[in-house]
Each structure stands twice: as C-alpha cells, then as structure tokens.
C-alpha cells in the first residue's frame, strides 16, 4: 500500500474505510488519557496553526467520496439509537433503510432536510460569524454591539467576583487568601493580567511574607488597540 508523507493520512484512511464499511459501533470509547487531550487550534506561537493549515493545499485530493458517504449515519451524539439502529421487523427494515438512505443523501450533500447548507467546517462557521448582514455598515454595527455586550457581560461578572470580598462582613484573612488564589487562576491568564504585565505562573497576588512589598493592584490591562500584533485571521 502506498504510504503518504503526511502523518494524519493513516487516520483518514481508517476513517474512510470505516465509513465505507458502515461502521456503527455503539461501544463507549475509553476515556482518553490526559496527555492525549489537547486541541491544536492554538499554537504556542502567535501564528494561528489552524489558520495556516487551512490555507495549505489539501493533500487528500486523491480521495474521492466513497459511496457510503464520509459521514457516519444519522446519530445523536449522546450515543442513542440511530435511524438504522431502531429495532424493526423484516417488513419494516426496507422502508427504514430507504428512509435512512434518503437522510444520508442529504448529509452527503451537506444540507439539512429543508435544503439549507449545514455548517460543517470551521470556515463556514467563521463566515457565518463574520458576515451577519449584507450591508457592510449594518454588519459593522452588529459586530460593534456584540463586542460591547460581551465586554459589558465580562465586567459585570468581574464586578460580581469583586463583590464577593467587598461585601463580605465576615471576611477573614484566610477567606481573602483563598479568594485571591481562586481568582488568580482566572485572572493571571488574562491577557495583561491583574497587575499589569504578568507572566504566567508568577504570583500577581502578594503573599503574606513580610519581605514582599508588592501590593495587590487589580488595574485592568486593557487590550491594546494597535500595539499588539494580532495574528492574521484567515
């Protein structure tokens, strides 16, 4: 068998073969080990890995869509029975099969039962997000409102967290420390962080050691407008 230079090819071969032979296992997949669980949408580097990948020429061009379709048969993610799995008597099975066939045809075409395009790829989802209206002015405003509302929500949430200690008449040193710890995890990762430019891992919450002179200063570091080079979004 020909080997292909790209590492994920084997996975794809397996997937297509799987679909062709109408793989319909309902077995519970074993919990993946922690080390295997990570998403690759974000690289360590500013370059968006996913973005660069989508622009590279697809090496899978050689494969044509197998007759069974590349998508698994209609199934709800929770593993409940699919159309094909419903127990049916012999005389029903042909009509069930015909219905399933119809459904599969729609899925292969990437459309819903009404004929609307389904969002299958990241790219389609991205486009749907970015283009809310044909009129560019309106589109711009829609996004503006969205940003404002998300930001408002974030600030209200932050306010709630602050009020946890500010409104606590029984606040003790211990409670305060725990609150700081809990929210340090939340906030130290934030671009900018609570205390300004804080590298991940260093404590931006001062400890109780007497020699530590840094006071906790929750000045929000606002997202830079133009300074920070944004990775190109493809």
């Amino acid at each position: 068998m020909t080997t292909y230079p790209f590492p994920f090819f084997d996975r794809w071969v397996r997937q297509l073969v799987t679909c062709i032979s109408k793989y319909k296992s309902q077995s519970q997949s074993p919990m993946p080990k922690e080390e295997e669980c990570y998403s690759e949408t974000e690289a360590e580097d500013p370059d968006e890995e996913a973005g660069s990948r989508s622009t590279s020429p697809s090496p899978i061009g050689v494969w044509s869509s197998p007759p069974g379709g590349v998508f698994p048969s209609a199934t709800t993610p929770q593993g409940s029975p699919t159309v094909s799995h419903s127990p049916s008597s012999a005389s029903d099975s042909s009509s069930e099969g015909a219905l399933e066939h119809l459904v599969q045809g729609l899925q292969q075409g990437g459309v819903s039962f009404l004929g609307r395009p389904q969002f299958l790829t990241q790219e389609q989802c991205r486009r749907s997000f970015l283009r809310r209206a044909r009129d560019p002015q309106l589109n711009e405003r829609a996004h503006h409102v969205r940003c404002l509302q998300s930001t408002l929500k974030a600030k209200l949430q932050e306010l709630q967290v602050l009020d946890e200690v500010l409104n606590d008449p029984m606040l003790t040193s211990e409670k305060f420390r725990r609150w700081k710890e809990k929210n340090q995890e939340l906030y130290s990762d934030r671009p900018g962080g609570w205390a300004g430019t804080v590298a991940e891992g260093t404590s931006c919450f001062p400890t109780l050691e007497p020699e530590d002179h840094t006071a906790f200063d929750p000045k929000e570091h606002l997202p830079p407008n133009t300074q920070c080079p944004r990775p190109p979004d493809l």
Partner: protein, 397 residues
C-alpha cells in the same frame, strides 16, 4: 477611605491595602459598565433608525406600525410588545396570530422564530396561526406548500417538531380519513420535504425514484400502507414543482444581531509540545463555539463547530470544573472541521479533544447544559425515526 467602608478585623495592613485597590477597581468597573450601557443604547438607536422610506410617512400611527414591524423583524418578541404597548395590537393569541398570518411587512424568519418559541403563550399563538390555514380538500403537498410559505421554519429540532405537529393535526382535522393518525401525516410530511430537497437541491447526488418513495413509506399508515396512487401523486407534484420556501437573502435582520446562547471566560487546554491553559472568552451561538482572546476582538481566535460532538465531564489534575468536547464512537476520528468538496475531496479536520475548565461548578453545569442543547439541535432524524416506528408498529400483534 470612606467611613462606611467596612474594614474586617483580622486582615494585615497589606491585605487591607489590597482590599482598597479592589474597591478602587470596583469604582472603575462601575464607570465602565455605565459607559458600555450608554454606548449600547446609542448604537442600538442608530441601527433602529437606519433609514427607510416607511419612516417618512406623516401619520404618527403609520410611523408606529412601521416601527413596530421593523422592531419585530429584528426581535419578534420586542416588536410585538411595542405594538401592544402602543395599542396597535391586542394581547391575545388570536389577534397576534392574525397579525403574523397576514404578515404585512414582516420578515418570515422572524415569524418562524416567534411561532417556534417554547413559551406557553407562543404555543397558543402557533395553534391559532395554524387554525387560520385552510387545508380542506388540499392534498398534503398543496397544504405543505401553503404552510411552509407562510413563515420560515427555524433550524432547531424541537421547534420544527412543535410546528409540524401542529400542522399535521390541522391537516387531519381538515381532511378526515385521509390518514389513520396525526403521526402518519407528520412522518409523511417529512418524507415529502426531504424528497423535495433530494430531488431539487444540486448538492444532493442521489435522486430518489417514485418506487423508492413509495417503498420508504410502507407501513406508516398505522401499520398499513397508504394508497400507492396517493403517494405517486404527491411524488409527481413535488417533482414537477419544488417547494417555495422563504430563504435568508442576506438582508434578514433577525439573525444579524448576536443573541448567544451563552458567553463567558473559560480556560482551554491549548496544545503543541507544551500544553498550557489559556483563558479565552467563549461565545456559544449558531450551533458553534467561538472563542476570543479579548471580548473586544471582532474576529474569533478559534472555532469549534458542535455538530456531531459529544460533551462529558472530566477530572483534571490541574484545573477544576472541567469538561471535554469529543467525537463519540471512535476516539481516533478527528473533530469535525471537514467537509466534502464538490468533486468529492475531503478536507481535513485536526483535533482530537477539547478540554475546558470553568470557574465554578455552577458555570460548568450551565455550559454543559447549553452546549448539549446546541449539539442536539438536529436530532430530528431521531425524532422522525421514533414516530415512524410508532406508526409502523401500531397494528402489530
């Protein structure tokens, strides 16, 4: 420090200083929040007054009706509220149903959205709306043509189910004896809609024949078959003339504005050689999870289409309140970021699992609930199969 500021007893001087910083931060936040609210109101006003000739009518009433329609098209609930408040519409389900049925100046997507809502009142309006349709002596295809043109069917399975159930009931009410049960009518309606898509949508390669159409509907008349001639007629009708269905022409205002199912900060395990947790602003909307570095970013940093994904809670050694998004059945399958190109090529996806940590257990629960609801947005095939089984096996011994 103001007099009314409470200073808890056992804090060190340093801690009190920190608390003071936090108070200052709160004041900043309150100012930010007010500013944001003002700006949102301002931009919303701008949007609502984006000109159209309707608004230049002289009479106050006409202006209000036009405004009401415009509001409806952006947010049906608000539009109806506005019209009721201005005495342009009565707050009864019959009146509102009439308003929607007439549909003058109304966007069909908005009508569909309103009729599909789960609220008790909306359901009553749906039934009143359906009652306004006269299906007597129409065959099923004719009835569907009329029904599906009167509003745009939403995408969510639950909504579709409610609306098609109402349709089926009304059809059977108007045409007694054609079908043994409402379920039969329901199942056949879907078969017809899917037939329409299969026959007329260029993306669907496999075009069903009339024999196959007849075959797939065996036994749906409560265990028995429907007359072949009936099915043939329905098939021919669709073949000769596709459904006319209201579509989004890009000028639909109803889904222009974001109305996310949920949004908030979450930690995401990001990969590569060294795995780190990154804090991202997540937005769940349109059956997709988008995430951003800042809330003010116009474009998402990453996108997770939710179709065909599963979600489960997990324990993580480093972070609390974790859950994962994964593909069920085969853990080697990639999370879908794939599609079949027109010439049959498959373009790749590239992730195995997304691991996410929420700030509190409550938030974790809420996120899981919302994501599950979004994932199961299209299990209507499952619903359809259940109903079909029901009608096919009704007369079984």
């Amino acid at each position: 420090m103001e007099e009314e500021d409470f200073v808890p007893g056992d804090l060190s001087l340093q801690e009190r200083q920190e608390l003071e910083n936090i108070r200052r931060r709160k004041q900043e936040l309150l100012a930010d929040i007010q500013r944001l609210k003002d700006e949102i109101a301002e931009v919303t006003n701008e949007i609502e007054s984006l000109g159209s000739t309707e608004e230049r009518k002289n009479m106050q009433r006409n202006k209000q009706v036009a405004m009401g329609r415009k509001k409806f098209n952006m947010d049906p609930k608000k539009g109806i509220q506005f019209l009721i408040e201005n005495d342009l519409l009565k707050n009864t389900c019959e009146d509102i149903a009439q308003f929607l049925y007439k549909g003058e100046g109304l966007n069909k997507t908005a009508i569909g959205d309103y009729l599909g809502e789960r609220d008790e009142f909306n359901i009553q309006v749906l039934h009143a709306f359906v009652e306004l349709h006269e299906f007597t002596d129409l065959n099923l295809v004719q009835a569907l043509r009329q029904f599906l043109w009167s509003f745009r069917l939403p995408g969510e399975a639950q909504k579709i189910d409610r609306m098609m159930e109402a349709f089926a009931q009304r059809y059977c009410q108007c045409n007694n004896g054609v079908f043994q049960s409402t379920d039969t009518c329901y199942v056949l309606s879907f078969a017809i809609i899917m037939l329409n898509t299969s026959l007329h949508n260029p993306n669907v390669k496999d075009k069903p024949t009339v024999e196959r159409f007849i075959g797939m509907n065996r036994g749906i008349n409560d265990g028995g078959d429907l007359p072949e001639e009936l099915l043939r007629n329905l098939y021919e009708s669709i073949k000769n003339e596709p459904f006319k269905i209201p579509e989004d022409d890009g000028n639909d205002l109803t889904h222009t504005f974001f109305n996310p199912d949920r949004e908030g900060w979450l930690l995401k395990l990001a990969g590569g050689r060294v795995k780190t947790w990154k804090r991202r602003w997540f937005i769940l909307t349109d059956n997709c999870l988008y995430y951003f570095e800042y809330t003010t970013d116009k474009e998402p940093r990453g996108i997770i289409p939710l179709e065909n994904l599963s979600i489960r809670e997990v324990e993580d050694s480093k972070k609390p309140n974790c859950f994962e998004l994964y593909i069920p059945d085969n853990k080697d399958q990639v999370i879908k970021a794939c599609k079949t190109e027109a010439d049959g090529r498959v373009v790749e996806g590239n992730h195995t699992v997304y691991r996410i940590s929420a700030p509190t257990p409550e938030e974790k629960e809420e996120w899981i609930k919302c994501i599950k609801a979004a994932i199961s947005r299209d299990p209507f095939y499952e619903m359809l199969a259940t109903r079909k089984k029901k009608v096919s096996s009704t007369k079984r011994h």
